[in-house]
């Protein structure tokens, strides 16, 4: 039980579009244990992003249960969810979503700002997170002074800085070419070796090959859930 980071039971997420009701998730049940490395795949529109949003507490399910690190979070208030996102979730987005005016260091500090960490402690932790993704020498650069791969690594450092229970990445390499994708995936791999639990959404088989479990969604349901021997770049 204490090993279970994510436990969802019969998760349903419906959208009301005028008279029409769209079921993006039609009863998903899933368990993810600590230090697992999960890739979610599936065709476009199969509900991957919807799933990630619910898992990341950005969205709440229409029905079903969601236990995150032992706590039922599917019925919490907006502000309680904001607190959970701050403490337990690290997001990495396809489009990086860095603040353009802030330096790499300031971007990484942001979750700590909302977590109430101040002053020297905040800077030190942000600096260490940047060092973990290999950007110790780029702290004062702004996003437009960084390459795409470097930006995504800043975003990963930002996701890590609060030591979240889970790192969620929705197509983190979707905007990157294959070489920089490889850089970013190396970072994920290393974090996983260091104990981080990771869930990432991808369309690409090479990316999914880094994970040790691949969950495939189809029409809002889990079509397959397979363990695999991961391939790792040297």
């Amino acid at each position: 039980m204490s090993d279970l980071v994510i436990h969802v039971v019969d998760l349903v997420r419906e959208y009301q579009m005028g008279a029409e009701r769209i079921q993006a998730l039609r009863g998903v049940s899933l368990e993810i244990r600590r230090n697992e490395y999960v890739a979610i795949m599936g065709p476009s529109g199969s509900g991957k992003s919807t799933m990630m949003n619910v898992l990341g507490c950005l969205d709440t399910p229409t029905s079903g249960e969601y236990w995150l690190a032992g706590q039922e979070v599917s019925r919490l208030s907006d502000d309680a969810l904001a607190r959970i996102r701050n403490r337990e979730i690290g997001f990495v987005f396809q489009t990086f979503n860095l603040l353009p005016r802030a330096t790499a260091l300031q971007n990484v500090e942001l979750p700590l700002v909302y977590g109430g960490v101040g002053g020297r402690d905040r800077r030190d932790r942000a600096r260490r997170a940047l060092e973990r993704v290999g950007l110790g020498n780029r702290m004062d650069h702004r996003p437009n002074e960084l390459s795409g791969g470097q930006r995504q690594r800043v975003a990963i450092a930002r996701a890590l800085v609060n030591e979240p229970a889970i790192l969620l990445a929705d197509e983190p390499t979707g905007n990157l070419d294959s070489t920089t994708s490889a850089d970013v995936m190396r970072v994920f791999d290393r974090l996983q070796t260091q104990g981080q639990t990771i869930v990432l959404v991808t369309h690409e088989a090479e990316i999914a090959a880094h994970a040790d479990r691949v969950v495939t969604l189809r029409d809002g349901r889990i079509a397959s859930d397979l363990r695999q021997d991961r391939t790792r770049a040297a």
Partner: protein, 412 residues
């Protein structure tokens, strides 16, 4: 919550820098509104200070007794009933007041207008006081040359005068005026002294005190309004408050005029405080109008700020979503934009304060009044401009706070 202020301030300053024209137009209303209030406050405070100085140039325990003291003007040749029923002040009234124990000195004085002429040169119509030998003691200033009135000259209303130094200079040039004769109306008066008025006295152009003469001289030879230009000047004992002296003087004059208890006074007493109060009442009305006018520009400014903040919120939708994903609560998102809005208006307010200060300097030079905006108006301007930012920023900030994080992150 306060920990995010620096960031909001920086973002606001950044957007001011990047969108100079748009931002300038946005905060223009706030600038104008604040500058108007500051300027008006300067004028009002300047007038007030000058009245205060004029009144205060005299000793603090001086006050006046008049036939009538009121803010509403009337035709002196046909005063209203409530004024007419009051007797005109006399020297005997002054003597009765002078007998009150706490009164050190009381004398009937007057003011009239005349040109002052010497040979071919003459002044504009200027104010002349009919007073006694204690004029300088009670009104301030210094005697530069010559002497004050002798008691006998006061008693007999001798044809002598003491000139203000600027009047003396303008009609005598380099000549020494003392001992020479000037003309006022059809009277020839010997100059016996030169008086330098107090530096800070109320000196509107054309309303300066040009000279003074013995009261009885003035009374015998010049015409003046016996309601508003004739008064008893009273010097009270310094050891007690002016209010106590005024009460005693009131009792003394009532008794002298035979007023039974219950009957109203047939005269008014005016302390310096009351004069200031009257000035405040007059300027206060003026001030209210200006506040209303500047309120309109502040409103326009506020709406501008609301508009620019709506733009800011919309164009930063993804950023809002990102911040929420990283843990920003509703309140923190709200606060972020409130700080930004308040910074914009505070910048506007600060510029307004500077403009107001500048206007104050201009008026100081142009109107010859000491128009320096009071500290409170700057403080109020700061508070008001922040409040406008918070007030008008609330709607856009609230929109940001209520955004759904998923929607916001999906925004293009």
């Amino acid at each position: 919550m306060l920990r995010n202020i620096d960031e909001g301030v920086l973002i606001a300053l950044e957007s001011l820098r990047v969108n100079k024209l748009r931002s300038t137009l946005t905060i223009l209303g706030v600038v104008i509104g604040v500058a108007t209030v500051m300027t008006m406050a300067s004028i009002v405070e300047g007038i007030r200070t000058q009245v205060f100085n004029a009144v205060n140039a005299a000793v603090p325990n001086v006050f006046y007794v008049m036939r009538w003291f009121g803010a509403t003007p009337f035709d002196p040749s046909n005063p209203p009933y409530e004024v007419r029923i009051r007797p005109v002040l006399t020297e005997n009234d002054a003597a009765a007041i002078a007998r009150a124990p706490l009164v050190r000195h009381a004398a009937l004085w007057c003011r009239f207008s005349s040109r002052i002429e010497f040979e071919d040169s003459r002044t504009q119509i200027t104010e002349v006081w009919g007073s006694d030998e204690r004029f300088i003691e009670l009104q301030g200033g210094t005697l530069l040359a010559g002497r004050l009135f002798a008691p006998s000259e006061v008693r007999t209303g001798a044809p002598v005068t003491i000139l203000a130094s600027d009047v003396a200079r303008s009609i005598f040039g380099r000549l020494d005026p003392v001992g020479r004769y000037v003309r006022m109306g059809n009277r020839a008066l010997q100059v016996i002294g030169i008086w330098h008025p107090p530096d800070n006295a109320f000196r509107q152009p054309g309303a300066t005190t040009g000279a003074f003469v013995p009261y009885r001289m003035a009374k015998g030879s010049f015409r003046f309004d016996e309601t508003r230009e004739l008064f008893v000047v009273v010097l009270g004992d310094l050891s007690v408050s002016v209010g106590d002296v005024r009460d005693q003087a009131t009792v003394a004059l009532r008794r002298f005029r035979g007023l039974r208890p219950g009957l109203p006074n047939t005269f008014d007493t005016i302390t310096q405080d009351q004069m200031l109060q009257m000035v405040d009442r007059l300027t206060g009305a003026f001030f209210l109008v200006m506040i209303a006018l500047s309120g309109v520009s502040l409103l326009v400014g506020g709406i501008g700020v609301m508009a620019i903040m709506m733009v800011s919120v919309t164009s930063r939708t993804r950023e809002i979503g990102t911040r929420k994903a990283l843990g920003a609560t509703r309140q923190e998102s709200l606060w972020q934009f409130l700080v930004e809005a308040a910074t914009l208006t505070l910048v506007g307010g600060s510029i307004g304060i500077l403009v107001g200060l500048g206007m104050g300097e201009v008026m100081k030079a142009g109107l010859a009044i000491d128009a320096r905006p009071p500290l409170w108006s700057a403080a109020a301007a700061v508070v008001v401009s922040i409040a406008i930012g918070l007030g008008f920023g609330l709607y856009p900030a609230n929109r940001a706070a209520r955004m759904d994080p998923v929607e916001a992150l999906r925004h293009e």
